[in-house]
């Protein structure tokens, strides 16, 4: 098995999988059960002056029958007294000394208030502090959370206050609800942060009940925008993590958050520079038990690739992300359809015609409308034989005009059969040339 031990900005944990600050990390009892299930660490549900929550609090986006492709919440920080949370931190650390417990903090923007909470959290035994500058709903209306994270000067100032007294590593959690996340990442760095957590949730309204006309979640006939997370936000989080990781002015360890539910997302975030992985929606959906496959799957993948530990592949994909202007204009691929495995659904055909570049054809038909008319007009009656051939009729298998194919990938993306359509490199005979190189000439 590969070594998954994590050493992140001075915080040690048996593996890089941490519960993100949120409902699964609300209390010590939950966190201890999570550690028993295999989680390496937990970022405590944000501690601050206790708040009052509303009901309901969550809403989600389902996709074609799959639940919770995206999750939205309007829950605030911990509703429990600071002293209770801190006492439970002490208890968890006493019983699980090798696991990472990070205190997420959010208090009034006053130097002495921050000094006080930092000292108390560290006295309780937390291994690190995560400054919640990201929460986009409710708390931000009170000048906290993303209200801080959206103003680089505030983020820098509070980080400085915390660092004046902190003895443990300080992580700054960034909000994605900003035009360029790197500005706040740099401010946190300037303020002395030891690491960054990204991303917090994205401002969202998930949907509207078409009977009551109330957007969800419904709080007595009204709603408020919430924070969006879960599988749907992974691409946004990946991009933001990459932006921070590639920024020469930041250069801080990154604890990645955003749609991590399996080892696959974990590997992707590590490949773009992340050190630890935080999850919240996935354990909310399926429970703590999912971590077993996260550990197991990542270990098997690392073993298959020959990576002995997390650092062996951290950031390996970063050099492969560049500006568009540096991409090779002379790299060409085309779609090839394997007639042996094609099932004749013709999704590639209609996708190419209606959504791409009109280069996939079905013999005998000028365009998709004619094809529909052709089949519909043919006379059919019930076969008298019980046996029906399921073989794909040759006339239903589309072909690609490779000369016209722009290699956009759309047909390959819509094809429901694995490895039926492949995107194949063709030699244009031209030397690689980027847009930047072309305009220089």
């Amino acid at each position: 098995m590969a070594d998954l031990t994590s050493h992140f900005a001075g915080i040690h944990s048996p593996n890089p999988f941490w519960l993100a600050s949120g409902p699964p990390a609300n209390c010590g009892e939950q966190i201890m059960r999570a550690f028993d299930a295999g989680w390496g660490g937990a970022v405590w549900k944000t501690i601050g002056e206790p708040i009052v929550n509303v009901s309901s609090r969550y809403s989600s986006v389902d996709l074609n029958g799959c639940r919770m492709m995206g999750l939205n919440n309007i829950e605030l920080i911990s509703d429990r007294p600071i002293s209770v949370n801190l006492r439970e931190i002490s208890e968890v650390k006493r019983r699980y000394p090798k696991h990472a417990v990070i205190a997420s903090l959010m208090v009034e923007s006053k130097r002495e208030v921050w000094h006080d909470i930092v000292k108390r959290a560290e006295d309780a035994g937390s291994d690190g502090l995560e400054l919640n500058f990201g929460c986009p709903h409710g708390m931000s209306e009170r000048g906290l959370g993303s209200a801080v994270g959206q103003v680089p000067e505030y983020a820098c100032m509070i980080t400085e206050w915390v660092k004046e007294v902190a003895r443990t590593p300080v992580l700054v959690k960034l909000t994605p609800n900003i035009s360029d996340i790197r500005t706040v990442a740099r401010a946190a760095k300037k303020g002395g942060a030891d690491a960054l957590s990204a991303i917090n949730t994205i401002n969202s309204i998930t949907g509207i009940d078409l009977d009551t006309l109330t957007p969800r979640p419904d709080v007595g006939g009204k709603t408020s925008h919430g924070g969006y997370c879960g599988p749907a936000v992974k691409p946004i989080a990946l991009h933001m993590v990459q932006q921070i990781a590639s920024d020469p002015q930041v250069q801080l360890p990154i604890s990645a958050i955003g749609g991590i539910g399996s080892w696959r997302e974990a590997a992707e975030f590590i490949l773009l520079g992340a050190g630890t992985l935080q999850a919240c929606t996935a354990p909310m959906h399926y429970g703590f038990r999912i971590v077993e496959d996260m550990i197991d799957g990542l270990s098997h993948w690392m073993a298959s690739k020959g990576y002995a530990n997390i650092d062996a592949f951290r950031g390996l994909s970063l050099p492969r992300v560049t500006d568009w202007q540096h991409l090779d204009l002379n790299y060409k691929i085309v779609a090839r359809i394997n007639p042996e495995t094609c099932i004749g659904c013709q999704l590639c055909y209609t996708a190419c015609w209606d959504g791409a570049h009109q280069c996939i054809h079905v013999a005998g038909h000028a365009k998709p409308e004619d094809e529909a008319a052709f089949t519909m007009a043919s006379l059919v009656s019930t076969p008298t034989s019980s046996t029906v051939s399921h073989a794909t009729p040759a006339r239903r298998i589309p072909t690609v005009d490779e000369h016209e194919c722009v290699g956009c990938n759309l047909c390959w993306l819509v094809c429901p059969v694995e490895n039926c359509i492949s995107m194949v490199r063709v030699d244009t005979g031209n030397q690689p040339q980027s847009w930047a190189e072309r305009v220089q000439q």
């Binding site: 029958g65 089949t375 019930t382 429901p416």
Partner: protein, 410 residues
């Protein structure tokens, strides 16, 4: 039906709404889909399935009835294994086709529960069309003609319209109550139904031709063919269609403990399974040829075997008695009741009254594109043309003939 028909359990129970949406979401939404091409009426299957997935079951049902007004009965009685579901591309991915028949039923059940209607209106100066026979072919023809505003009258010799949908479909597949629902939405569009009318008996050809601009012939087939062997007229010898019609109309039936069914087609299986439901503990199908020659669909055969029906191959009856079937190989199959299901005869007496029709092998010859007969005023479809196929074939041929009529009249 005034009396309560015998309660049969449903062969395929309906999908729950959530199961329907889950199954609908599995549909790939193929372009120019093979399932739609395989349906004789060319229902746009992916379109109606997608509408179930989005929570638009009424729109889904409207898509179905637009192509096939008998969408409900077809969803219940179609041999989907050899039609839409047989063509599903999933056979070549994981071997599990979309359950199109059950999804269609789901949409159609919603349509009838929501008191769905066909929005057809009569146009001023509409041409008049008569449909002879009130079975699936005429119903489909009438609905298509009403869609285009024509004035339609359906004549049938039976007290209830619907033909085999009402009298001949196995009860565990489709009930007369559901058949009546389907007829009522067609009646509600303004079609006139006249029962107890037989062409040539109480409706003359002259009157028909004088009063109507075009005539659709959808009279189906006649009684079960006789075998021509001794004992055929004994009281314990029934023919399959009369047997099915009798139990569907709640006539008292006592088949006894053991039943022998003569035949190898789907009707033989319908009759045999029904005999089991009616209390027979031993039911055998006697077929004159080998297992591989049987014309019943494979899934019907499986259903019969699962229902505990026995099969005797190469069994040629030479004599019926009031307690047995005697075979030509000297064996005797003891039984209380004998049901003959060896195919229906042609209604030559009726067809030959219209002297201008061309018949071949007792079937009406039509232009396959238009359903038009040798006499241009007459169109035909369904079993009297195709020799006896599925409800969906009759629906397709009725619709096709309606288009032919519209073309010819305008």
């Amino acid at each position: 039906m005034t009396q309560h028909p015998i309660a049969f359990p449903e062969l395929h129970p309906p999908l729950t709404p959530q199961a329907a949406v889950a199954e609908a979401n599995r549909c790939l939404f193929c372009f120019d889909a093979p399932c739609a091409g395989a349906c004789p009426t060319h229902i746009d299957v992916p379109r109606f399935i997608k509408k179930i997935a989005t929570g638009n079951p009424l729109g889904s049902a409207e898509t179905i009835v637009d192509a096939n007004v008998l969408g409900l009965s077809c969803s219940r009685v179609c041999p989907v294994d050899v039609l839409c579901e047989g063509a599903c591309v999933y056979h070549n991915i994981n071997g599990k086709p979309i359950t199109i028949g059950l999804l269609q039923r789901h949409a159609m059940d919603h349509f009838y529960a929501a008191a769905g209607k066909l929005p057809y209106k009569t146009l001023p100066g509409a041409k008049k069309v008569a449909c002879i026979g009130a079975g699936p072919a005429s119903l489909a023809c009438a609905a298509e003609l009403r869609k285009h505003g024509l004035d339609v009258t359906i004549f049938d010799k039976r007290p209830q319209p619907g033909g085999l949908n009402t009298y001949g479909v196995a009860q565990y597949k489709f009930t007369p109550t559901d058949a009546a629902r389907e007829i009522e939405i067609i009646r509600a569009t303004g079609v006139t139904f006249r029962s107890g009318i037989s062409v040539g008996e109480n409706l003359s050809i002259e009157d028909l031709e004088r009063d109507f601009d075009a005539v659709f012939i959808g009279i189906g087939l006649g009684a079960t063919q006789p075998l021509g062997i001794p004992g055929e007229h004994l009281p314990n010898v029934l023919n399959a269609l009369e047997f099915i019609a009798a139990y569907k109309t709640a006539q008292p039936l006592h088949v006894g403990h053991s039943v022998a069914v003569i035949g190898g087609g789907n009707t033989a299986i319908d009759a045999a399974v029904a005999a089991r439901y009616l209390g027979a503990s031993q039911v055998s199908i006697l077929y004159r040829r080998a297992e591989s020659n049987m014309s019943a669909f494979a899934f019907e055969y499986e259903h019969a075997r699962a229902s505990g029906i026995g099969f005797v191959w190469n069994a040629r009856p030479v004599r019926f008695t009031n307690h047995s079937v005697d075979l030509d190989n000297g064996l005797t199959v003891p039984c209380d009741t004998i049901i003959i299901a060896i195919g229906q005869s042609r209604l030559l007496d009726t067809l030959q009254q219209i002297r201008t029709l061309e018949l071949r092998n007792g079937q009406v010859v039509v232009n396959p594109q238009t359903g038009q007969t040798a006499d241009p005023k007459y169109f035909a479809g369904g079993d009297c043309v195709n020799g006896g196929r599925e409800v969906v074939d009759a629906a397709a041929e009725g619709k096709r003939a309606a288009k032919g009529i519209l073309q010819w009249l305008t």
